[in-house]
Amino acid sequence: MTQPVLHLRLDGFEGPLDLLLDLARAQKVDLEKISIIALVDQFLAVLEQARRVRLELAADWLVMAAWLAWLKSRLLVPPDPEEEVDAEALASALTDRLAELERMRLAAAWLARRDQLGREVFGRGAAEQLRVEDRSGLHADLPALLQAYAGARRRALARRPYTPKHRKLWTVQDALARLGRLIGALPDWAVLHRFLPEGLTDPVEQRAALASTLIAALETARGGAIELQQDRAFGPILIRRAAPTEAMPDARAA
């Protein structure tokens, strides 16, 4: 009847070190003074009994058993000066490991005995919000602004070749009609730009309208209805209604 109990007990240990620590405690001496040889014998005995119950045992148990058997044999023979590994040192390393595991067990127990938050003591359950967010500020700097401009223009320009726009070009006829309509209300010199049709934002359409308006103006000036003046190359072109009573020095210049 003891065998199944042993089987269950072995399963209850968390690995070979756990069992070793339990056996070491059973020696009822300071962990520093335990007999490694006695410990090894006990461990192997437990394992042997366990194997009688069921043959398969986890690999780490068998590795530990083999290592302990080897350690015991080294401890029993007189120390060999040629030997690379010192059996005493290995035994003391095992003792140190058991002692550290023991200390960590005690530390866990010490923690477990403390009053724990949420079990024995409680903190404020419903914390009050002490942060007031001021969202009036704006996170934007000049580089971001410039990047935005460049990005918007690049996208708009890149889109253009793919969507050729229908251009409504301002013809010379259109310009002649508009000029004829507007010239009557003209009191004095006015720049040619003022005779362009309104609402043109496209640069190409603006340029075309300027060209046709200039041709229309030249045509009208030839007919004698208006006068044109430009003081310098690329300067503004001025238009006014022809005033037949005045001397026209400027007409020669034009």
């Binding site: 409680f122 404020r124 967010e133 001021d134 704006l138 996170h139 460049a150 309104e198």
Partner: protein
């Protein structure tokens, strides 16, 4: 002459016995429990919930009343809120204990692009902005920029429909650390436009 107990006071008494004067030590202990429980709870404590924690025979409402009286005027007061009672820090201390954290907003891309176009092309109409961006522009984007004080109307363009013209404000210069609009890099430095001298 002792007054008869208020029937309303005795109602929640589970045992139905008259609201006898509670043992002062027991009542003091109940006060301790109530204070700790209300502190620890993550939501307001209703009288019924409070009663579960109190020694039997103690009226939770009497405990609440007593606790309210002792905490009145203290830095942390017991107040009635939806669903029961809770501790709250006194409102007069809020300025001292709250911390204002500045969480600057980030402008959405459309708004940033619109702002940049207004900065470079002002005064400019919404239709012109749409033309320059090559995309339509919602009124709400303009309104957001207006609300932040970054742009302002600059009259109307004398074309059919008389659309508003938009320009940037001194607040805009401040936001972007500019002394004047002329501090902005020239457009040609940012993007190589196709030759269009008329639009210059």
């Amino acid at each position: 002459m002792p007054e008869p107990p208020d029937p309303a006071e005795t109602l929640p008494d589970p045992a139905g016995e008259p609201a006898a004067e509670a043992d002062p030590a027991l009542f003091a202990h109940a006060l301790r429990i109530a204070e700790a429980l209300i502190f620890a709870s993550d939501r307001p404590i209703a009288p019924a919930r409070l009663a579960q924690a109190l020694p039997p025979g103690i009226d939770p409402r009497a405990v609440v009343t007593a606790l309210m009286a002792t905490t009145a005027g203290r830095p942390v007061e017991l107040v009635e809120v939806a669903g029961g009672v809770a501790f709250r820090t006194a409102p007069d201390l809020a300025p001292a204990i709250t911390r204002v954290v500045e969480v600057p907003r980030r402008l959405p891309r459309v708004a940033m692009e619109t702002l940049a176009i207004i900065a470079y092309h002002q005064p400019v109409t919404r239709a012109e902005i749409e033309e320059i961006r090559g995309a339509s522009l919602s009124q709400s984007t303009l309104e957001a920029l207006l609300e932040m004080g970054l742009i302002a109307p600059r009259g109307r363009k004398e074309v059919p429909g008389r659309p508003s013209l938009w320009g940037t404000t001194p607040r805009f210069l401040e936001q972007f650390g500019l002394k004047a609009l002329t501090d902005l890099p020239r457009r040609e430095e940012l993007v190589s436009e196709p030759a269009s001298p008329l639009s210059a």
